[in-house]
């Protein structure tokens, strides 16, 4: 049998394995990360001391805000907007 025989179906199912769980988790969390980013940028614009802390050590300043920088998907954008 040609077309969608069982063997072909099996192979096509196997062509789309799940992406690593951490990748999809980070992508799912984009809306929350976006809100956090906007909040951090807004605060950095209003609070000079906070802005200095971000510039001096971005990752630790984020941790102090409860944001884990190693898994946070918008770190590069924050750098662009604040540093």
């Amino acid at each position: 049998m040609s077309g969608y025989d069982i063997e072909r179906l099996s192979r096509l199912i196997g062509m789309l394995p799940p992406a690593p769980a951490a990748w999809t988790r980070a992508a799912r969390e984009l809306p929350r990360a976006r809100r956090e980013l906007d909040g951090i940028v807004e605060r950095a614009e209003a609070d000079a001391e906070f802005r200095r802390a971000l510039i001096a050590d971005l990752e630790n300043a984020l941790r102090a805000e409860g944001v884990e920088p190693t898994t946070w998907p918008l770190l590069d954008e924050l750098r662009r907007r604040v540093l």
Partner: protein
């Protein structure tokens, strides 16, 4: 009857069930309206596709593939408002992924072979075509019962052994092969003869 429908509508649905019920266009509209569950569903619906394009069609190493993957979803999230036709989200995501993979390959080749004019290998077009078919098959898979969906996905896409599947689904390992066969037949019926490649 009304009460039963209300109860069904109020009951929490699994992401897979929600994903199967919503058209691409409806999902995009919900995401645009700020529905975060819909965004999670959109990520679930397209994450395997983006991952497969990057790693199978473009053969990007894992670190580059991860960067592309995150950039694709960041751009989709940011630019959903610019999508002209909501039902065209799949080709839009595919095109975005291909473009970012090409950028990544070019950037890599500039670093590695700065003194030659060699261009990086493009995508494997056969693989890209097969991934489109694979996406359609997974779409049909999402419409099957949860049992069938789970067992076929675990065996073929997650590469789990009979024993692992039996343990996870609390089924005797000896029954797994026959269930897989039955579910593959149901999947083929779900796709229907009109969708078979020779009839296209």
């Amino acid at each position: 009857m009304e009460a039963a429908r209300n109860a069904r509508e109020a009951a929490p649905r699994s992401p897979a069930a929600l994903s199967a019920e919503l058209s691409d266009a409806r999902l995009v509209a919900l995401c645009r309206g700020g529905d975060e569950d819909a965004w999670s569903t959109l990520v679930e619906r397209f994450s395997r596709y983006v991952y497969a394009i990057a790693t199978q069609a473009f053969r990007l190493p894992q670190q580059d593939a991860e960067d592309v993957f995150q950039e694709v979803f960041a751009r989709v999230y940011e630019r959903l408002d610019t999508l002209r036709e909501d039902e065209a989200v799949r080709p839009w995501i595919a095109q975005l992924t291909r473009r970012l993979c090409i950028d990544r390959l070019r950037a890599g080749s500039r670093e590695v072979v700065a003194d030659t004019e060699e261009l990086p290998d493009g995508p494997d077009e056969d693989v890209l075509a097969q991934l489109e078919e694979a996406f359609d098959v997974h779409d049909a898979l999402a419409r099957l019962s949860e049992n069938c969906r789970d067992i076929l996905d675990r065996f073929f896409a997650r590469d789990e052994s009979y024993r692992a599947i039996g343990d996870a689904l609390e089924l005797p390992a000896g029954t797994i092969a026959s269930r897989i066969s039955r579910c593959l037949v149901k999947l083929r019926e779900e796709i229907g003869p009109e969708a078979r490649p020779e009839n296209r």
